[in-house]
Point group: C2
Chain length 497, copies 2
C-alpha cells in the first residue's frame, strides 16, 4: 500500500525548503536529494508492502558531515531515519513524511585490512560480500552471510544483527564485530571497542548491534575475519515427514556436531526452488535438509558418516553427498534462491522471521501446518534449522481483497507460537514496523520500559527512527521519574565512602 | 590498607538500626548479618589491599526477596553493593560504609539441565565449575574457565564478563550466555534472552554482561553448554627470548589455527610455578608457551605438527608434547597455580589485567621490561597470549614504605601502554575501583557520558554499586538535558507519519 503524504500547507512546505537549504550547506555537492522523482528509490526497503516518501534524502560522505546533519536535526527537533542499502525485511528503513532520510550509501571504503589482528575496518555502506572479497586473496572471509549479501550493507547488518546460513557455527553479526564509530543524535562521536574482542566500560557495542537505527548512526565498523576452512562438503537429505527432519536437526546438535550450516526446506519450498534453479532436489520428499560440514578434510569425512547415520535413524529416505565444490554450490543454489523462487509460484508472499528453541522444531512445524489449513493460505518453509531461526513464507494474493490482512494475521499467529514455545519474535530481520505491535507478546511493560530507558539514554527527544520497534514511545521524562516515598530521600546523611 | 568507618553519630546509628530491622522483615531467618565479627569475611573481595566493613550484609534466598530489598532501598535512597563469591580482582564487590551488601551466596541451585537445547539454567551463586560438573556425566561442559573457577560464582562471571584459558576458542562469558533474570534497582524484575542465541528488542544481555553490578542484580542465568572435544593435547614450548614467544603466538593465529588455549609465562613466572608444583617446566628459557589443541584426534595430530613447525620458525629451543591426559594436566598445573606460586616468591604482588591487539605483543613485552628496570620492581608475566589478555604480576613488599604506590604507578603505566597500542584497560577482571581513575585514558568525556546515560537508564539515583567503574558520577538530570536552541522545537508541526 502507498501511504500518501498528507496535504501540507504552505507553512510546512516553507519549513521543508528551509531544512533542505540548511542541509545543502552541511552536505555540499549532490548529497541532498529532494525531488519526488529522485526520492522514489528511497520510498521503501525490503518490506515492499509499505511505501512512504521521505521529507528529504541526505547522503553524507564523511563522519563530520553525519555529525553536522545530526547536530542540526537535534537542535531543530527534526526526525531522522538512517538507511544502509535498504534491504531490511521488517521496514526498519521505511521513511517518514516528516523525517530526513539519512543514507550511508557513500560510505563505501574499506579503510584497513589487518591480517595480523584478523581485523578489517570498513565504512558502513560497504556490502557484506565486499568484505569477504577484499580478503579472499589471503584465504580469509567474513563469516555472517545473509541471503542478501551481494546487496546488503555491513552497517545495516550491524543495525539488524544479521545472520546467515553459517551463523550456527560462526555466529551472528554481534559475534563477529570488534568495534565501531557511532554518531549520536547530538552530533557527538563515540568509539566503541577496537581490534580486540574484550572491552572495558559498558558493552555499548552489544546494545548498538541490533538497535535498528534508534540509538545512533554507525560510521565505521571493525569486523573479525576468519580463515577459510580447509574443506567444506554438504549432505542433501530427504525425509517423508517434516517432523523427521526436525528430529534429525535436534539429534545432530545433541550429538555434539556443529555443522557449518544446517538448513531446512519443506515441500512447497523444494518444488519452487527446483523449478527455478534445477539443483537436483528430490521432489517426492516432505522435507529436505542441507547440512554442510567444514574443517580439515579428515574431520569432515568422519562427520559426514556420523550425520548420515543420524539421519537414517530419523527415517531419512534419500541422501546425496557432494563430491566436488561445484556440487556443493549446486546443493546450496536452490536454498539461496528460495525467496525469489517462491515469488514465482505465488503472486505475493510475506516472509516471517522467528526463532524457537531447537527442540520445539517438530511441534512448531506441526502447528504451522494446522494454521495453514485454518487460514486457507499456503506456506513454504525455508529456515536456518540449526539455530531454530524460521523463515515461513506465507503465500497470498494482494489483489484478492482481505488476503494481505489474512496473511498478516497468520504471520502474527506464527510469531505468537514462537514466543509461546520459549522463542523470540525475530531471528535476524529485526522488529522494524512489521513486528512492532507484537512486542508486548514477548515483553512485559517493565521490560519495554527498560528498553525505552536505554533509547532515552541515547536519544532523549526520540528523533532517531521513531515509530519503529516500540509499539508506544513514552516520553523520557516520564520513564526517568524517580519514585521516592514522601518526596525526599530518607537517609541522606549516612557516612559516605 | 584498612579504610575505617568514620565516627558515626547517634542519629546515623539509629538509622542503621532502622534499616537492619526493616531488612530483617524482608529477609527472615538468618538472612541479615550485622555484627562486626560476622561481617568480617565480607570486608573485601579478591583485591585484598582494600578493606571496608559494610553497613549490613543481606543474604536473600529468592528473587522475590531480592526484589523487596531493592525496592525498599530504592524508596529510601539506600546504596546497595551486590556480591557473588567475592573473588573479584578489581574491587568490584568492595563494600561501602553506607551501603547494604547484597550477597547472592544462597542462590545455589541448578534449576534445569536441557541437553536438547544445550542449555543449563542456574542461580547466580552456583560456582563456575559446578555447572560443568552438573553436565559432565553426559560429556558436556561450560566453556569459560577463570582460574578461580572452583570458587567464583556464575553471577560474578556475568557481572565481570570473565574469561579463562579457553576463551580464545570458546569465547568469554558473554559468548556463552543465553538469558538471565535481572532485578532492577526499583525492584522490578526483567527477563532477557532465553534458550536461543537470538534476541529481539535491545540487547540488554550484552549491556548486563560486564556491567560490574551497577545496573541490576542478576537472579537467574541460562548458559550454553558444549560437548567435550574428542581429544585435547598440549605442547609446552620454550624460547630464549620473550619476543620470540610473542612472535610465535602471532604466527599461530595468522596461520589460521585457533588453539583451545594459548598461554604464556615469562622466566620469573616459570621459576615460581616450577618450584611450587614441579610441572617439569624448562628453567633455562626466557618464555614458555603452553598451546592446547582440541578436537577430533586426527585433526589434533595434524595441528600439533603445524604448531611445532611454526614454533621452530620463531626460534623455539625446547618442545614437549603431551602423550597422555595426565601429562596434559601436568603441563597446565603450573600455569593454573601461577598466582599463588608468585605469592611464594614475593611478599606481595599486584595482578594487572589489560588487553592488547595480538600483533603488539612483542613490543609491549619489551616496553614492560624497560618499565621494570625504571621502577626497580620485578614483574612476572602470566597471560592469555592467544587473545592478547596480559596478566603482569608486579612484585612488591607492602612493608617497605612507598612500594605499594610504586607498584600501582607501574601498573598504571602498563595499562596506559595497553591503550596506547590500541588495546583496552581490562580483559576480564573489570574496572571496579582498581582501574576506575584510568578510564579517561581510554574513553573521552563523550564516551563516558554516554556510558553514564546507560547507567542512568537503569539506576537514576545512582544507588547500585556507586564509586565503582566511573571516575566521576554525574547527576542523571544533568546528562539527560536536551539542548534545544531558543528553548523550543523549531518544526513542531511538520506532517506526522
Amino acid at each position: 500500500m502507498t501511504i500518501m503524504m498528507p496535504a501540507a500547507d504552505q507553512a510546512v512546505l516553507a519549513r521543508r525548503e528551509a531544512i533542505i537549504a540548511a542541509l545543502r550547506k552541511l552536505v555540499p555537492g549532490e548529497g541532498v536529494i529532494s525531488s519526488a522523482a529522485e526520492m522514489l528509490p528511497y520510498e521503501s526497503d525490503g518490506l515492499m508492502a509499505y511505501r512512504q516518501p521521505p521529507m528529504v534524502v541526505v547522503l553524507p560522505d564523511t563522519t563530520e558531515q553525519v555529525s553536522k546533519v545530526l547536530k542540526y536535526c537535534h537542535e531543530n527537533g527534526i526526525k531522522v531515519v538512517p538507511r544502509g542499502s535498504g534491504t531490511s525485511l521488517s521496514g526498519g528503513a521505511l521513511p517518514l513524511a516528516d523525517a530526513v532520510l539519512l543514507g550511508l550509501g557513500k560510505f563505501k571504503r574499506v579503510r584497513e585490512i589487518d591480517f595480523d589482528n584478523r581485523a578489517v575496518v570498513v565504512e558502513p555502506g560497504v556490502t557484506n560480500l565486499a568484505i569477504s572479497q577484499a580478503v579472499a586473496h589471503a584465504g580469509f572471509y567474513y563469516a555472517p552471510d545473509p541471503s542478501s549479501q551481494i546487496a546488503c550493507s555491513i552497517g545495516g547488518n550491524v543495525a539488524e544483527n544479521s545472520g546467515g546460513v553459517h551463523s550456527l557455527k560462526y555466529g551472528m553479526t554481534t559475534n563477529n564485530l570488534l568495534g565501531c564509530e557511532i554518531v549520536l543524535m547530538s552530533g557527538e562521536v563515540i568509539r566503541v571497542g577496537g581490534k580486540t574482542a574484550e572491552t572495558s566500560g559498558y558493552d555499548l557495542m552489544g546494545i548498538i548491534t541490533g538497535s535498528e537505527g534508534l540509538l545512533g548512526v554507525i560510521t565505521e565498523i571493525t569486523v573479525r575475519i576468519l580463515q577459510k576452512p580447509e574443506t567444506a562438503r554438504a549432505l542433501m537429505i530427504g525425509f517423508a515427514e517434516v517432523e523427521h527432519a526436525g528430529q534429525c536437526v535436534a539429534d545432530v546438535i545433541s550429538a555434539g556436531i556443529i555443522p557449518g550450516g544446517m538448513e531446512m526446506m519443506d515441500k512447497p519450498a523444494i518444488h519452487a526452488a527446483e523449478a527455478f534453479v534445477h539443483a537436483g532436489y528430490p521432489l517426492d520428499v516432505e522435507a529436505l535438509l542441507i547440512i554442510e560440514l567444514d574443517g580439515p578434510g579428515v574431520e569432515v569425512d568422519e562427520l559426514i558418516k556420523r550425520v548420515e547415520k543420524i539421519a537414517l535413524g530419523c527415517g531419512s529416505t534419500t541422501c546425496q553427498i557432494s563430491t566436488s565444490e561445484q556440487e556443493r554450490l549446486l546443493f546450496w543454489s536452490g536454498r539461496k534462491a528460495a525467496f525469489p523462487a517462491v515469488g514465482r509460484i505465488s503472486p505475493d508472499y510475506l516472509c516471517m522471521d522467528g526463532t524457537i528453541p531447537r527442540a520445539a522444531l517438530p511441534l512448531v512445524l506441526r502447528r504451522m501446518k494446522e494454521m495453514s489449513a485454518k487460514y486457507g493460505l499456503g506456506v513454504a518453509n525455508v529456515f536456518h534449522a540449526g539455530d531454530g531461526n524460521l523463515h515461513p513464507l506465507i503465500l497470498y494474493d494482494a489483489n484478492k481483497p482481505g488476503e494481505l490482512q489474512l496473511a498478516e494475521d497468520f504471520g502474527a499467529d506464527i510469531l505468537r507460537l514462537c514466543v509461546e514455545v520459549g522463542g523470540v519474535l525475530t531471528g535476524e530481520h529485526g522488529v522494524g514496523i512489521e513486528k512492532r505491535d507484537l512486542m508486548p507478546e514477548m515483553f512485559s511493560e517493565v521490560d519495554l520500559n527498560q528498553q525505552q530507558r536505554i533509547k532515552c539514554a541515547f536519544d532523549a527527544q526520540g528523533l532517531l527512527n521513531p515509530g519503529k520497534v516500540f509499539p508506544t514511545l513514552h516520553r523520557c521524562a516520564e520513564l526517568g521519574r524517580v519514585h521516592v516515598h514522601g518526596g525526599k530521600l530518607a537517609f541522606p546523611d549516612l557516612p559516605r565512602f
